[in-house]
Symmetry: C2
DNA sequence: TTGTAAGCGTTATCAA
DNA sequence: TTGATAACGCTTACAA
């Protein structure tokens, strides 16, 4: 037996399809008995309104799409996304939206967008994919950008990346470190750091600002900049590179806790003590950062709040609100135990380890 | 200007809507020039096929729904879900599906299902919600159940919960612990442990089996069973309860790493040393379990593989495959440092050995 | 190779 | 309080 439709109910109840529709959506406009009868029959037949057909006429799907720039398995490895989605989920729960995760389709976010039946999008960290935003705007789809340079007429949510990054680097420098590795998040495109855009750019600017206060610069030979995938695995791999640097860094400043944790793992495998042999700073303050050994010093950002704000803005755009606020959330240095003063590190008798 | 439709293209190109449709979906059936012209005009006008209308006729949405039993913010707090979704994401990426997270709508999963335009569902740990499965089956929607008692005619993916739980408890017992707290995952409904169903039941059965080997039982006064929300917060709260038990437990066996980690946090706040003052065992082996202090002894399950298997099965059902395998994945005891031998007895890391 | 026209299952409009 | 009927935007027999 095929799927039960509104027609089957109408026929069996001896009413029109309109009546059936009303019974579900606007019961007030029908006689109480009629509604009663229709509902009974619908229940009996196991009728469910077809959500696609409904969307067809209402133009609403009741779902919010989150555009993630990486393939799902990779993106989901980052607890940061999880926490962000928690915030989005709060609003979804409150307003009755479902949540769709939309990764690139065959490598293309644009294509993924075309195939997605959602009421609006939240874009996440579109570094190099500026064209995606233009595309969305051109298509007149409601959207909100997060962790990207703000555009006019499009609501955005960002954190104070530059200031946060600056504080991270200042803290390391104030602890006496001068040989420092900076781990940036790989942006997809190969680019010189001066050509970075968005979040990446702001964070580099922050690092640079702090370095300059100490008469240093990213261009100095004792400041090394590398890029890593934003995964634990990426952090592990980058650790090997860092080990090979000359001069050996005494501190590594990363743009992501998850990378820092990869470095933790690799360091433990290589029996290199953190922070004694190597100080580490993260960015994001994901929940586990306070639980790892040693607790990770990092830049705390209100991730969940960011998610909540984004979803809230998107809900407004979907409702037709013409406003387009640009929200900037604060960051904060969370000092824990993964950075120690460069001078106080215990003497290192193992020639394999980076000297303090 | 309203949204561009197939008609606009047809008019401007001087062809029928059929031709436009063909140009996108079956270019072979049209002359090369015609296709060329249509595509050009479509591009120029910024035309995107409406995915809802397409779904309307094809009956396909290209998205997989994952039914999560808790509100999104709560569910997303568990890295276990994340890892599971990574596996699902692998298949989504491979087969071009999007991923929809579907939490209860106004407290009701059934209602959420009704409103979800997806090609099929993966249900996750439906303990008490057996009716949801019946509902799905009655509606003839494709679905796969994960972490629930298997039903006939419905593909399922489970792990060997009972055996895993047994190994966890055996390990604790073999280390000499006799005053033990068991932390179950709160199931929603209040029920005596003997009335547990699904995963919960299997795990309890495993614990009980191990206890019986040592002449003990959950009913013993020195074995305490409590329930906790499956969150870090839940673990923190349950720790307070455990502290108050008499006799004081020397070990706590939890059904979830995330709960164990909550206990870690609370223990640290309360300055109770793990494992010296309290041994802890988890379940799941989420990625951070090896990174916390001390690394958590737990039952390892192939979570990502579970996700991959589920999505693969669902894809088959959606394709019309009538088979309905019941997959059971293995678990494994991951011995780390959160359990030590009780009292004066020497540490026993071999669960096969009898108690010292 | 291209066009006509009939759906798909709802909701919305307007009339009865 | 109800019912015809026309959208909604697309796909797909079937025809030409």
């Amino acid at each position: 037996m095929a799927k039960i439709t509104i027609k089957d109910i109408a026929k069996k109840a001896g009413v029109s399809t309109t009546a059936v529709s009303f019974a579900f959506n606007k019961p007030d406009r029908l006689g109480a008995e009629t509604v009663q009868k229709i509902l009974e029959i619908a229940d009996e037949l196991g009728y469910i309104p077809n959500p696609i057909a409904r969307s067809m006429t209402t133009g609403r799907t009741g779902t919010i799409g989150v555009l993630v720039p990486q393939p799902l398995p990779e993106a989901l490895q980052n607890p940061f996304l999880m926490e962000f989605l928690e915030g989005v989920g709060e609003i979804c729960t409150r307003d009755g939206y479902s949540l769709m995760l939309i990764p690139p389709l065959q490598g293309s976010l644009k294509r993924a967008i075309e195939y997605s039946a959602v009421d609006g999008f939240i874009t996440l960290g579109l570094e190099e994919e500026k064209s995606v935003m233009l595309f969305l705007r051109q298509m007149k789809l409601p959207f909100v950008v997060v962790d990207s340079d703000a555009m006019d007429e499009v609501p955005s949510v960002n954190i104070d990346d530059e200031f946060g990054a600056k504080k991270a680097m200042q803290y390391v420098l104030s602890n006496g470190h001068r040989n420092i590795a900076i781990v940036a998040i790989r942006s997809g495109k190969q680019a010189h750091y001066k050509d970075y855009v968005g979040t990446l750019r702001h964070r580099i600017l922050g690092y640079q600002a702090a370095l300059e206060e100490y008469g240093l610069s990213i261009d100095n030979p004792n400041i090394q900049l590398v890029e890593s995938d934003n995964t634990i695995q990426g952090g592990k791999q980058i650790f090997q590179k860092i080990l090979a640097f000359d001069p050996a860094p005494t501190a590594v400043v990363t743009m992501s806790d998850i990378i820092a944790i990869g470095i933790y793992e690799a360091a433990r495998d290589g029996e290199i003590a953190i922070p004694e042999a190597l100080s580490v700073v993260g960015f994001d303050d994901i929940p586990i950062s306070k639980l790892v050994c040693p607790p990770l010093t990092t830049i705390s950002q209100p991730t969940r709040e960011k998610g909540r704000n984004s979803a809230e803005l998107l809900a407004h755009v979907i409702e037709g609100d013409p406003e387009h606020p640009h929200i900037v959330l604060p960051t904060q240095l969370a000092i824990r135990d993964s950075v120690i003063s460069c001078g106080t590190a215990p003497e290192n008798k193992d020639p394999e380890l980076p000297a303090p």
